[in-house]
Amino acid sequence: MSTAVSEAVAPAAELSADQLVITGWTALSPYGLDRAAFTAGLGSAASTAVDASQVTGTLPSPHACLVPGFDIKELLGKKGTGKLDRLSALVMVASDQLLRDADGEVALETDELTGVVVGSSMGSLETITEGMRQSLTNARPFYVDAGKIPVGTLNHAAGACAIRHGLKGPNTTLGGGRVSGLLALNYARRLLGQGRASSYLCGSAEEFSAAHAWLEHVAVERGEESPLLGEGCGMFLLELAGRAQRPALASVLAVESRVDIDDDPAAAVTACVRQALDRAGVRAEEVWAACPSAAPGRSGRAESAALDALLPAEALDRVPTMAHIGDTSAAAASLQLAAVLAVAERDPASAGRIALVTAVDRDGGVGCAVLRLLAPAANGGAA
């Protein structure tokens, strides 16, 4: 597996039957409501920050990177959405985009083993904290909005996605901060490998809210600035190559994670990337595109320094920075994966190349995924 950069590599048809492949993707992001908007926005030089305080009320800093035009009732209909939270809605719209084509017709056959895994740090923090606030301030402590209670359960988004599309396979929600998207990817990889699922909707998401902004603001370490927050959802369709219904866009060669136990995030990222490259059977010099989380603060700086030391400079330049969409927290790693796929799609030279995504989180988690990019845009999955 020491394929040199210049060599041609196995096309999708030659993948082993049990190879995990990504066969579809979408991204709701501060660049826009869908994959096309994400691809178009990626690489624009300006920040997507807007004055969010007009919608949310007082914020520690007025700016945030919101998914523009994200109107829940418009996107999901009026029925049953009255109490729906933004996080679940992001996940549901993303799942619609993967499972239905532009005409709303089914784009992927699902069965009783179609799985859903969603990475999310805290569910809908806005819904949860609003319920707490009502309990503390209303005339009686149980005067809370009952319809919001299920929505304030941490696994609501994944469950709502299953209800919407009738997906009865393994349904899981994972928390891991900025690493959430990679933990979800590895979870799906393992369960597909063990035959527990036939295919997977896998992604991670974050909603922007005043509650989140204030909690992040007070949590910031002394000497650091409050992060510019973003939101969004990156979601992927995962299948095993031998049973894939759609053309493979990328092979997932390795997903590794570690925990920084010594408050040395650079060392943890370095070890994790080396481990992932080893597992994937590729050399650091072969990496064609890499996308770090660009997390704010010390951990993000350590991540960048570690990748600078490990990887070819042109690989790091190939994927536009994620800084323009803010710190998208639990959504980050999935949006990074989406960015790598978007870059691959518009560059025919990407076919057969290696891409890498890393994540690092305040709570100590680090992660790295290694992909082999397989298809140019013409061969892509859902439009």
Partner: protein, 83 residues
């Protein structure tokens, strides 16, 4: 059956409408929540909780099965509030 106070009935109709995603103007006071409007027990709790908050009253959960439509819900609220 207590005498119906129109303002309160209107408000309860609005609360029900809000919680089952209907237009208050289109909501009949006799339409059955579960059988005709597709509500479930969670929605009924939603309505009960919203009425409790609106009028600062407490309605026993045992009353839930009686709340079959707007009219009956009004009566349950009236009994709890002593209207």
């Amino acid at each position: 059956m207590t005498t119906v106070v129109p303002d309160r009935l209107t408000r309860i109709r609005e609360i029900v409408a809000e919680n089952i995603d209907q237009d208050a103007s289109e909501l009949s006071d006799t339409a059955l929540f579960i059988d005709e409007l597709g509500a479930d027990s969670l929605k009924l709790i939603d309505i009960l909780a919203a009425i409790e908050m609106e009028y600062s009253i407490v309605i026993d959960m045992e009353e839930l099965p009686k709340m079959v439509n707007v009219e009956a819900t009004y009566q349950v609220a009236a009994a709890a509030a002593g209207w």
